[in-house]
């Protein structure tokens, strides 16, 4: 028992004395819990409500268009965007924006829907009393919804159902109004036909007949329109992009660990006495780990191309711009390696580097839309996600593989990744290369 207790207390003492390590040990899981909880908050809400900008095009400009707009606006989770840069949006422009992923949803209320719905309501009530049916001859007016092809199925269903319920409530109102207007007429007609038979024999009074199916006949509908993208995204494309970026960033653990081991065992001191600029050694190290990242990416791609289809998924497609793909993956790898090098120079112990490295990558992944789409996050988290390098990498890869993006269309993401790489390398270089900067002239 004594050796056990002695060991136990020794380890506790060691942990207690590694204040920074302890801080990391307690703070990082707390950070993880807070970040992931906030990121997932809206996803787990029964309403699926997330504050979202929705493009809204009211071509009707009559009662229904306005009413639908007002009701959508009344929802806490929706902000309607009806114009961009002061210009009213047209459907084509909106569809392009949605296909590009700038907006996730566009709702179009077609011109004349108010009139069409009213006419349909009157005809339906008339048919209900007369026993006729013009249903088949009449096209059902509908509100069009365009989704970003990457929007998840659950979110689509949730929004479509909400819209359908909203329209149903409006229908009920219209039908009730039509019925209110029609019933007195029906009664009047019936009573008029009985005027010469007064006093009335209750047994001979005809009943006002009405088709019971009237109530379930629709006045209007909501239709999710097809995307104009040539190839619709698959779950394989999205998952390969997301998890390969996540996996690449996990290179920070071995890389940071290697740097710390070199520092601790004196290898770094020996390396710094070599007649080689330290930048050469750093670049060599960087090159090796970038190769590892590439192998990792290719392995995941191979799984998507050959492995997953065996299990019934679609074959992975990575878009048509190979150059853009190569540049993007390389930049993601460089950003990850730069972060690993920086971590290796800043952390004091291996435990700090591995703990902080793992938790920071998981947090950046959660914020970056790897686990949960950014558009379902709370607004604050959406803003923070703009600063996640994993988000830049993921957005660029999705743009290339799903939306047939090119180098031009991912230039911003590449620029951010380059800047991140430059900053992290500069920090690592400053920590390490102090003496090598006094190089020969």
């Amino acid at each position: 028992m004594q050796p056990f207790l002695a060991t136990l207390f020794k380890e506790l003492r060691l942990l207690y004395r590694d204040r920074s390590g302890l801080l990391v040990l307690f703070i990082m899981p707390a950070v993880l819990v807070v970040v992931v909880s906030l990121v997932q908050e809206n996803v787990l809400k029964a309403t699926g409500a997330a504050r979202m900008d929705i493009l809204f095009i009211d071509q009707d400009r009559q009662t229904f268009g306005k009413l639908i707009g007002e009701q959508l606006e009344a929802l806490d989770s929706v902000t309607l965007v009806t114009s961009l840069d002061g210009q009213v949006i047209d459907t084509d422009q909106a569809r392009v924006l949605v296909d590009k992923g700038r907006y996730q949803v566009c709702i179009v209320v077609p011109a004349g829907i108010t009139e069409a719905v009213r006419t349909r309501a009157v005809e339906q009530i008339s048919d209900a009393f007369s026993g006729g049916s013009r249903e088949a001859a009449l096209p059902l007016p509908y509100v069009s919804v365009y989704f970003d092809p990457l929007v998840q199925g659950a979110f689509r269903s949730s929004l479509l159902n909400a819209l359908k319920q909203m329209l149903l409530a409006m229908e009920m109102e219209i039908k009730a109004k039509a019925l209110t207007e029609s019933l007195p007429v029906q009664f009047q007609q019936t009573l008029s036909a009985l005027a010469d038979r007064i006093p009335l024999d209750p047994a001979t009074i005809p009943k006002v007949q009405m088709d019971p199916g009237w109530g379930s006949r629709r006045l209007m509908d909501v239709v999710a329109e097809q995307s104009r993208l040539k190839k619709l995204p698959t779950s394989v494309q999205q998952n390969v992009s997301a998890w390969s970026v996540f996996g690449i960033f996990f290179i920070v653990l071995p890389l940071g660990g290697a740097i710390i081991r070199e520092r601790k065992d004196g290898t770094l001191a020996r390396l710094r006495t070599l007649p080689v600029p330290y930048i050469t050694l750093l670049v060599g190290k960087l090159g090796a780990y970038v190769i590892v990242c590439w192998v990792q990416f290719l392995f995941i791609v191979l799984m998507g191309k050959a492995g997953l289809p065996l299990l019934g998924t679609p074959v992975l497609s990575l878009g048509s711009d190979t150059t853009a793909l190569i540049v993007t993956v390389t930049m993601v790898a460089l950003a990850a390696c730069g972060y690993g090098l920086m971590l290796g120079t800043l952390a004091r112990t291996l435990e700090q580097a591995t703990m902080f490295g793992a938790v920071s990558v998981v947090c950046a992944a959660a914020l970056g839309g790897i686990m949960v789409p950014v558009y379902v996050m709370p607004p604050v988290m959406q803003t923070i996600s703009l600063f996640s390098p994993l988000a830049w990498g993921l957005n660029a890869l999705v743009e290339i593989s799903v939306r047939e993006g090119t180098l031009g269309s991912v230039q911003h993401e590449l620029l951010y990744l380059t800047a991140f790489f430059a900053v992290t390398m500069a920090i690592a270089w400053t920590r390490f290369g102090r003496f090598d900067r006094q190089s020969e002239t």
Partner: protein, 256 residues
């Protein structure tokens, strides 16, 4: 061992007025340290823990920048022309500065390539260095599986690979058995005879006495005595040997 393209120099190391105070420290870790070494000289740097030995080696190898002072190695200013100066130095750090998951030969090969040694020449040098330290039969064994003595010898082999003119040895025999220690010291004497200069730090006074032509005793960053073992004992006739002299100069108080 021969020294390709070796300039015929009489001064291999020339250091003057090296002073270094670490951030937040009140006193300098090393103050006005000066030293010059000729070819084949072994200078012992003795001092208790915290005396400034490792700081001196770090400054002399360019790992640390001094607050003042200069270092020339084979005529090249270490801080002005670090790459030129560093090609002549080899460092045997206090720790086993090797990659444990690589074999001895792989470690040597990596560091050899850092000195731009390639092909047949690299293979020959690896073989020669492993022979010098008695590790020929363990060339393909992983460092991580080596005994403490073997690791120390491999640590030395790396520093010899590029045939340096000046070796910095920071407690190279710490924690090794008498057999390995004896072998390391014998090899160092042989290297010295072939013209390699060495700055040697150790806590084993008898080692310094055995191999060093000159000894500098430092404490609290200051040089307390400097000369050949004979000169030092002559200057302090009340001390029977270097061990006594060391304690006389640095005191008997325990060092933290």
């Amino acid at each position: 061992m021969t020294h390709p393209e070796s300039p015929p120099l009489t001064t291999i190391l020339w250091a003057e007025g090296l002073t270094k105070t670490y951030p937040h420290a009140r006193t300098p870790a090393l103050a006005s340290f000066s030293l010059s070494m000729g070819p084949g000289e072994i200078v012992g740097l003795l001092g208790p823990n915290g005396a400034g030995k490792t700081t001196a080696i770090s400054l002399l190898t360019g790992l640390l920048a001094p607050d003042s002072g200069s270092v020339h190695i084979c005529g090249a200013d270490l801080f002005k022309y670090p790459r030129k100066a560093r090609q002549w130095i080899g460092l045997v750090p206090q720790h086993i500065a090797l990659y444990p998951s690589l074999t001895a030969a792989e470690n040597l090969s990596y560091f050899g390539r850092m000195y731009r040694i390639n092909g047949r020449e690299l293979k020959d040098r690896i073989k020669a260095c492993l022979e010098i330290v008695g590790l020929s039969n363990s060339a393909h064994g992983r460092i991580g599986a080596f005994s403490g003595g073997m690791k120390r010898r491999a640590n030395l082999a790396i520093a010899l690979l590029h045939q340096p003119r000046l070796l910095f040895l920071d407690e190279p025999t710490a924690g090794v058995d008498p057999q390995s220690r004896n072998m390391i010291l014998d090899r160092l004497i042989e290297l010295s005879r072939s013209g390699v200069s060495m700055l040697y730090t150790t806590h084993y006074i008898e080692e310094a006495e055995k191999i060093c032509s000159r000894i500098a005793v430092i404490d609290e960053g200051r040089t307390l005595a400097h000369g050949s073992p004979g000169e030092l004992t002559q200057a302090h006739p009340d001390c029977n040997d270097l061990g006594q002299l060391f304690l006389r100069l640095t005191g008997k108080d325990l060092r933290d």
